[in-house]
């Protein structure tokens, strides 16, 4: 396990390095000078100079990159020039919304997809199976922000069960916070749960057609015992892959869904930063999101190796 871990850790670091270079380069190719880009064409020359000084634009590119990276590593993401406060403070604040939202949506996804996928596979070809396949086909095709708007019309405007948007903050109580995140989490989870339920179903069907399942049935185990003891565990590998991929879709989706519900999360932060041309915030938040995606994929790889010893041996 250890050599595998070291190898994967090495490629994790290389990926992060290259990603940071790409993001840094994107911001560097801003037409003209970043300081005047951020301040707009009507800015006073001395304001531009002050910002140039603050951004360290008088240093070389290499120096700037190094100070950005060392900053990131020590938790210092610079100072947002629109909010006039440390980016790391703003990000920490916004993460209190985005992270619970992503986890809530992931939990919903798994909680719905597993039983539905198992049910469909266990009753292959039945009316249950067909309706699961039909509903999930729709779930995949629905744009989640539109589904979110429809839920607002039904559950917020007509029924009044939820508020149409906004976040009261965790100070208002755990359940008040959770309630405000419920519609957004459902909207995020719908397409992902549909995909995962289908993957779960087809992976189980593949496993159920294996010889060892037939042997298990032949030695007298019931269908249910075979499903729980043998099939489920072996069907998990493709399911794990998809869950890992889904995390990055959830993050990306959250950026849009936060805008539907006016949630003060990372997604809205990025959009506000773009409209205000606050490149310092854009650069660091994008890096943070990419870091999250790369890290999750790394963890999924480790999970594979843990579930499936053959993968460890291969490296």
């Amino acid at each position: 396990m250890l050599p595998y871990l070291i190898k994967r850790l090495g490629s994790l670091i290389v990926s992060l390095l290259v990603a940071s270079l790409v993001i840094f380069a994107c911001i560097e190719v801003v037409p003209g000078d970043p300081a005047s880009f951020m301040l707009g064409i009507n800015a006073q020359p001395d304001t531009v100079d002050a910002l140039r000084e603050e951004l360290g634009l008088n240093q070389t590119i290499a120096q700037r990159y190094m100070s950005w990276i060392t900053g990131l590593l020590t938790g210092d993401m610079g100072t947002s020039y629109t909010y006039r406060s440390p980016v790391s403070d703003i990000v920490a604040d916004r993460l209190q919304v985005s992270l619970p939202l992503a986890l809530y949506a992931l939990a919903l996804t798994v909680l719905v997809a597993f039983p539905v996928g198992v049910l469909a596979a266990a009753r292959r070809g039945s009316a249950t199976d067909l309706s699961v396949m039909g509903v999930t086909q729709l779930g995949i095709a629905v744009p989640n922000f539109w589904f979110a708007i429809l839920m607002v019309i039904v559950f917020a405007i007509n029924l009044g069960w939820f508020s149409a948007g906004g976040f009261p903050g965790w100070d208002a109580g755990f359940f008040a916070g959770l309630k405000a995140l419920t519609l957004p989490a459902v909207a995020l989870a719908l397409p992902q749960a549909s995909i995962l339920a289908r993957v779960m179903r087809s992976s189980l069907l593949d496993t159920l057609s294996e010889d060892y399942i037939r042997s298990a049935r032949a030695k007298g185990l019931t269908k249910r015992q075979v499903m729980w003891r043998h099939a489920l565990r072996n069907a998990m590998i493709p399911v794990l892959t998809i869950i890992g991929l889904q995390f990055s879709f959830l993050l990306a989706g959250a950026i849009i869904i936060e805008n539907v519900f006016f949630l003060p999360g990372l997604g809205r932060l990025v959009f506000q930063a773009i409209t205000q041309r606050d490149l310092i915030v854009v650069e660091s938040v994008v890096m943070l999101l990419v870091f999250a995606v790369i890290l999750v994929n790394f963890l999924v790889d480790l999970a594979y190796a843990w579930v499936d010893p053959r993968l460890r041996a291969r490296s």
Partner: protein, 282 residues
Amino acid sequence: MAETGFLKSAVRSRNLMLGLALTSVFAIAALVSLIWTPYDVTVLDIASKLKSPSAEHLFGTDHFGRDTFSMVMVGAQTSIAVAFIAVGIGIGLGVPLGLAAAANRGGWLDEVIMRGNDLVFAFPSLLIAIMITAVFGPSAVNAIIAIGIFNIPVFARLSRGAALPLWTREFILSARVAGKGATRISAEHILPNITNLLIVQGTIQFSLGILAEAGLSYVGLGAQPPTPSWGRMLAESQTLISIAPHLALFPGFAILLTVLGLNLAGDGLRDLLDPRIRRTGR
């Protein structure tokens, strides 16, 4: 003979037929809207704003009095064009990269291409779009680039994976013996054998592209006014949902049905063109 057999099973595939029917409705709407729409979408008619659906305005009108039905028709142009070109970028760059990687299996080129793929995969298309927008400003072209970049590794992986087993086959060996180089073999022998796979994946990426374009223009990173787009129509409808919920319905259904149509067509094509590969739901 083989041709008619293919057509027969194509017509018998319910998924494929339903998918093609749905997709054609929107493709035709987009084409027709190039020369004709029930109302001119560039003319504002404030007197008839926010009308509910009626015989006169099938889908009602928006806050500027524009006919929603006509807007949905013209919006189909944007969605289809953006997604189609983005698939083109994915195939145009991804397939040669994948074929080159497969031809140099285990070599440094293979390694570089595949690592590059992993890296692009780590950037969700929305983040690519955000970066591009932060620097160059929002536009339909930037949306195309963002979705297109996301498509490249998808096609590169697919074509590499499909090409690798082909390289060990006899007909490739005989082409090598005949003195053909790797590039010619890839183009003349490998590519024709993976076309079916590319068509199926192209359909799937097309539908993902429609969804991505809608999402991007919903948050303002896609096509800019006055170009009508389904995503932006939904964004504009959102402030009016309590007084005119119909505005949020029709563009959404347009996206849903187009994507559904493409997915069904993709399923049907996959069953038809490559019965060995079972659909896993993605």
